[in-house]
Amino acid sequence: MFVPQIWLRDFVDIPEDIKVFDKIMTRSGTMVEGYEYRGEGLENIVSAKVETIERHPDSDHMWVCSLTDGKNTYQVVTGAQNVKAGDIVPLAKDGATVSGGKKIVTSELRGVRSEGMLCSGEELGMSGSIIPKKQENGIYILESDTPLGEDIKSVLGLDDYVVEFELTNNRQDCNSVLGIAYEASAAQHRKFDIPAYEYDDGSDDIRNYVDITVKNHELCPRYTARMVKILKVEDSPMWMQIRLMGSGVRPINNIVDVSNYVMLETGQPLHTFDYDKIAGKKVIIDTANDGDVYVTLDGEERKLDSSMLMIDDASGHICVAGVMGGANSEIDDDTKYVLIEAANFNGPSVRNTAKALGMRTEASAHFEKGISRHLTKYAADRAVSLLVQIGAAEAIGGVIDLYDELPSPEPVTMNMDWFNRFIGTELTVDDAVKYLDCLCMDPVVKGRDITVTPPKYRQDVNIKEDVAEEVIRIHGYANIPLRHLESSNYISDENRYYRAKQEIKKLLVDIGGYDTLTYAFISPSKIDALGLKEDDPRNRPLKLINPLGEDTSTMRTTMVPNMLDSLRTNYLKKNKAVTMFEIGSVYLENPDKNALALDIEKLVIGKFGCDFYEIKSVLNYLFESLRLTDVRYDRADEVFLHPGRSAYVYLNGENIGFIGQIHPTVAKKFDLCEDTVVAELTLRSIIERYLAVTIRFQEPAKYPAVSRDLALVMDESLQAGDIGAAILELGGEFITGCEVFDVYRSDALGEAKKSIAYSLTFRSPVSTLKDEQVEEAIGNILSGLKDKFGIVIRA
């Protein structure tokens, strides 16, 4: 909500410095969202009277004016059409600046000297949506009694800040100038007195004029009405218009303006009816019938239903309660008597009605948030006093005030010792009483207990913790002494899983890996891009019920798309190719529908511009560093990986993931080069195995090893790993190792053939091996491989 400080200053002294004001309000709980100086950029603009005005000799739409500011005369050319001799207007002199930064200088317009510029509302910083209709598209005409030569900022009260407050749901009692004034007083440790107004009530009585019945008390807990006799419907005074515009409301006429003014000031929306248009002099508050039709103030025809509360007269509907009036009851220039309604309507009902009719007004917004029933009479009286004050009307005495009950807040008791333990302070009973008194809580002390009765307009202080909050926010949260947290000396178990995870990250960073971070939410199109099979569980991501957008509408089932996106970002930017990795959770449907979704942590590794073996060597490095030896690779069958260059990874016989070059189709979808490799492994399997491994000492070998290299030509379809395993089997008792160190392909080898080079290691635990023993083993290997697989040594 927007509050001009000048309005607030009617009720409470506030600091001159806006930053100080911001701080004291925000820190005590009334958050300042922002503030704006209304006179921003308005320099050297004064009030001046138009003495003469004549048509421009050389233009049929411009005028030449002669103005005086009380001291000097100025000749100014204007293109506006609404200026008359005798008008007092804002004159921007030579050297002035207007809103938007435009600088005004003496110049010539079509050959006629112009010593300045006359200003429109917009040029004075007013927004088009709140400038009164009369002042639109023309020079802003000031009141006829405006003193001349005054700075426009003081004439129009623009030397002021408009402060925007953000209110919490439980403090909608602050949704008014008075509510903010109450807070501003308490924040400065002063008590706020709600003002009372005096005026002449006259001898007449509202009961002579109208008869009001409330048929639905649930939707209308209180209906208060007063009446006035109009003296004249005209513009409201400038000071009122300025305050309304500062609050974001467009001035219309004195009657409507007072109604809006009182709503902004008290938080209680009012409605005004032209009394003579009320059929039968009867007002009935009741719900509509399904199918009823009604034309509102804006000329639109609305369809009603039986959930909507209406204000009716003897012949039908005259207002949508709490939302908007009708064309058939509105105030116009001929209105003689006004019925002022200040009512309490059920918030949710108003909200639903406003929503169903597609109409949300300032009034309905107020009701939605919940208003205290106690406000109505005060607001009605204030409206009458204001109308009398500005000479718009005469009061008609009496008030019609209909309600079943007006519940008042219950007293709440708080113990001071409990307070100091709860908050962590050492305040005295007197301290607390002082603050609670400033908040009009009427504190009563008995020993160490304080009993408060919250003011009628507040509905949020109900338990001792609420009272504690009131005390400490006024004292200042920043004034609570800092203390270290005291607790028993409890040391939790070392989180070995977490530490192992960090170790793995460090290992990868140590060889030049980059740790990346991506979102757990993903667009379904990214998962689709992998082309997963229909029945693949990863193809059924969990959907969010209320996603922010497509990009965050499902939970990721694999880390691969995000890794490909990260790689893509760098590839397209032509960054140097590096190994990237991420540890993150993927989410899958739990077969047990009553349990939470499956949350599985994965390690994903990726790089563009490399081959399969480079990433395989990263995995080998990782497994070796973690002392995991039972690792095996086997041909993989994943649609998003290149069929010949991918493998499943088996740790201790369990399939823990895959590694492979991405399929060319997928590469294209992600704008990546084809030689991009990814690997994704289940982290828990790796870590649990790692934590389970206990190192047993093994006597180091006493005797030297012998190594032999074999380059073997075999069918393309054979897997290097399988042949390696075969070699170990055929190698006899002394073979200790068999590693692939080269892969060679050439047409010279024959059709669908490849050559894989193995480095074999032999060692005996009891003696130095002799060449003959090694040769024998090699012989067995080669003949076994030839017989089983047709493998021969490369020539």
């Binding site: 913790e465 980059y514 740790d515 971070l517 991506t518 990260s566 990237m580």
Partner: protein
């Protein structure tokens, strides 16, 4: 945000608020990092441009 746990919440969890009190606070780790290093745009943290990553 941060604050003392509302007594109704403790009661709903079977804890007597007159015997125990609780407090809780939460801060976005990404935003804390943003502030600490003076990173201009939160999205940097999720784009994974190596020009960004290598600075840390």
């Amino acid at each position: 945000g941060c604050g003392m746990v509302h007594p109704n919440v403790l009661r709903a969890c079977g804890i007597d608020p007159d015997e125990y009190t609780g407090f809780a606070f939460g801060m976005g780790l990404d935003r804390m990092t943003l502030l600490d290093y003076g990173i201009s745009d939160l999205r940097n943290m999720f784009t994974n441009d190596t020009d960004f990553l290598r600075q840390f």
